[in-house]
Subunit: 507 residues, 2 copies
Amino acid sequence: MAKDNKTAINPRRDEDYPIWYQEVIKAADMAENSDVRGCMVIKPWGYTIWENIQKELDDMFKATGHKNAYFPLFIPLSYLQKEADHVEGFATECAVVTHHKLTKNSEGTLVPDGELDEPLIVRPTSETIIGATFSKWVNSYRDLPILINQWANVVRWERRTRLFLRTAEFLWQEGHTVHATKEEAVDETIKMLGVYRDFAEQVMAIPVITGEKSESERFPGAVSTYSIEAMMQDRKALQAGTSHFLGQKFAKASNIKFQSKDMQEEYAWTTSWGVSTRLIGALIMTHSDDNGLVLPPRIAPAHVVFLPIYKTDEERDTVLAFIEEIRTEIRGLGRYHERHIVADVDDRDMRGGEKNWSWIKKGVPLKVEVGMRDIEKNSLAVLRRDNPELKKDFINRDEFVKNLHATLDDIQKTLFDRAKAFRDENTRTIDDKDEFEAYFTPENKDKPEIHGGFALSHWCGSVQCEDELKDLKITIRNIPLDAKEEAGKCIHCGAPSKRRVVFAKAY
Amino acid sequence: MAKDNKTAINPRRDEDYPIWYQEVIKAADMAENSDVRGCMVIKPWGYTIWENIQKELDDMFKATGHKNAYFPLFIPLSYLQKEADHVEGFATECAVVTHHKLTKNSEGTLVPDGELDEPLIVRPTSETIIGATFSKWVNSYRDLPILINQWANVVRWERRTRLFLRTAEFLWQEGHTVHATKEEAVDETIKMLGVYRDFAEQVMAIPVITGEKSESERFPGAVSTYSIEAMMQDRKALQAGTSHFLGQKFAKASNIKFQSKDMQEEYAWTTSWGVSTRLIGALIMTHSDDNGLVLPPRIAPAHVVFLPIYKTDEERDTVLAFIEEIRTEIRGLGRYHERHIVADVDDRDMRGGEKNWSWIKKGVPLKVEVGMRDIEKNSLAVLRRDNPELKKDFINRDEFVKNLHATLDDIQKTLFDRAKAFRDENTRTIDDKDEFEAYFTPENKDKPEIHGGFALSHWCGSVQCEDELKDLKITIRNIPLDAKEEAGKCIHCGAPSKRRVVFAKAY
């Protein structure tokens, strides 16, 4: 905490969680709203996190045989309409290009001109435009599987937007694959869900539950949708990635056919899967505290920041030279999980306290102060950002370098374990309807976010129960892949049920 | 050449250069036209080249202090209009978003609905939308410089499109910087031009001429524009990157002001600079031959491809195990210029000749065949793609591995030297008007691409001379940065001139 016993972020999490979220983003200088409705500007500190997400995920996609490609930003209206459920899902929120130039009207005002024969939709997702291309690529079973990923921007004209969590334009990756059999396509869908789980847990230190979404929550046009669901610190769930088994629906819509081994013409089976800049929202809300952002080392833009402390020019030279030596030794350690260790020096001319706090608010895993006395003692004043007390440790400089990779691993593990313990503490198996409803009822109406958390309860499978619970803002997050068969009664209507699902309030 | 004495690409370069270009792209499976007018699909082999361009350039940008960020895809019409020359330059070719949803009309047809109060332009470039953001970031001289880069897609509604060279949507990077003084902004403009030169020459093995564009060729709204210009194998020039000094024009348009050290409020000085997927077109046309793509190792999606040759399952196991051993040793060599060496194995079930040619056409730097006899001799049948004769060398396997990095460097150097020699051979200093015009006149009308090449000649500086030469399709590429002051006469009108410029036909 800051000297005056206040936290760096105002309000604190327990005071106003949604505003706290915005303030963390602002304090860490990650992103801001632009003048274009619902579109954000992702600033360098936020964008570098996205770049690190990209690098790590991209390696995982490539290791599982996927290749990147790029498809058009625009989708002809007639393409979007090829799959009925699909167009219905996106029609109400899409940016429509209708003209291809601007001309001055008689009043001298520039107005749209050159009307297109067919409107183009700025992609909200690319199943239909990629499907049209795949239909040309696929002729024989020998052409399958096709395993493609695209990194791109997409646009969904959301009414209410929040930085990272829900924006009109966002950045994402969308995997699109084509298979000869249903089984292979289902396997791919589940495999990529597993890649997302591993990525979320190992790289972002966010524990997630993998499972299938209920029918009403499926991707528009999908046969089945799977998700990874994480718990935020307000105990609400956040869907952090989805993987869709599309059956033959999009293959039929886009005419993706192939000749099978026994010379039959068959429709192919497709999948799609994606994660987006929303992950950065999940990252913020999983680890950050009342002093700002807290970053797992594997995703942090910088691993270490050195703050030199000096009074004279001579001292400055000494301190900077000392830091430079350490940085050289750190470079000599080699890469940390495929990335070079980023160990920056902040020698900006500004108040020490302000500078110090700026790095705490930015969540850099290790902040290291170096002054003349430290050099005398061959010691460093190290702050581990995962320590909520913000306690400095004085560490022998050689030990610091020698143990750096292990320390970063330890921070990574601490953050994951903490998030997992929090989720487990706030997950309850509930079989009683009253208990269930009480669990989701905020004690204080002014703080709707303070409620139980996740409930593992039975659900009969009916849309009606799901809808009625939605009125209480309780949603079915997913049906966990590892849910055991277990006879029970629907928590809402009492009808027989075979397995528990995850209920939660959600983003 | 192929067995029947034909080349793999039909037509050859000397038969029909433009069609040859398209056929190289097709044969290498790099890209194709999509169903959306002017928009291309970049296929994995082409996209990986773009990814490699991104990695290399991004490192260079970061090494010069730039950071990546992301700004909105959409630009409000009123923003684009803030700089008069700028909007004029882009108004005739831009995609205009006018609606934000689709609704069924009375006939049940989906039509655009939800008209926007103000049309949004899909960014053709981002000076105005980024400028609006920068105006909020800049208050004091302490906030400067701002050194930002964005990797993004942009849209310019070009009438005639060609894969990579000119497409309605393309991928690029756009650097945008803000400075306190004119001098710093000019320095930045020239520095980034130098980064582009180094990248083109060292990584893409494309020799370029750096220089300033003439007034009529400036970026819309720029005070001065600089370019790197390369010579393609049809002796035409291709502008491969541009760097713009924007003066205070965009700062005034976007109201980017700061308080100077002596407490004066001043407009800032800005620059912008960009390269795009057009670079891939330059790459193709610089190095490829009549058998397809030829890739410099530093940009190739794969450095080495092993083709196993066997007759029985037992032989297959032996050959693949042998290859796997070599690949392990190659991994042991460490990274080649920051990238892991990509050494793939092509064990597809297809005709040997077809498979062999597929890699020649894809331009992989080293193609290595391995059969039982090679294993006996501890030898490899290696084809260096930079050898136009496609001659196989039998190389001792240990030597191959030991020398791999050096061999790749040698291929890289050979390609650069060859391209530079070609450019130098086809660049002539011309002072005589008749010679000049003859130089640019095709001997054969059916092959307009067969002409002299680059001419270094005097130009008086008048737009009229430039325009009249444009009628002959001769353009001023740039005024080289290293052009000596030298008294002379304009090659067109004979008026006095102080320096030579580069004249060429151009893409």
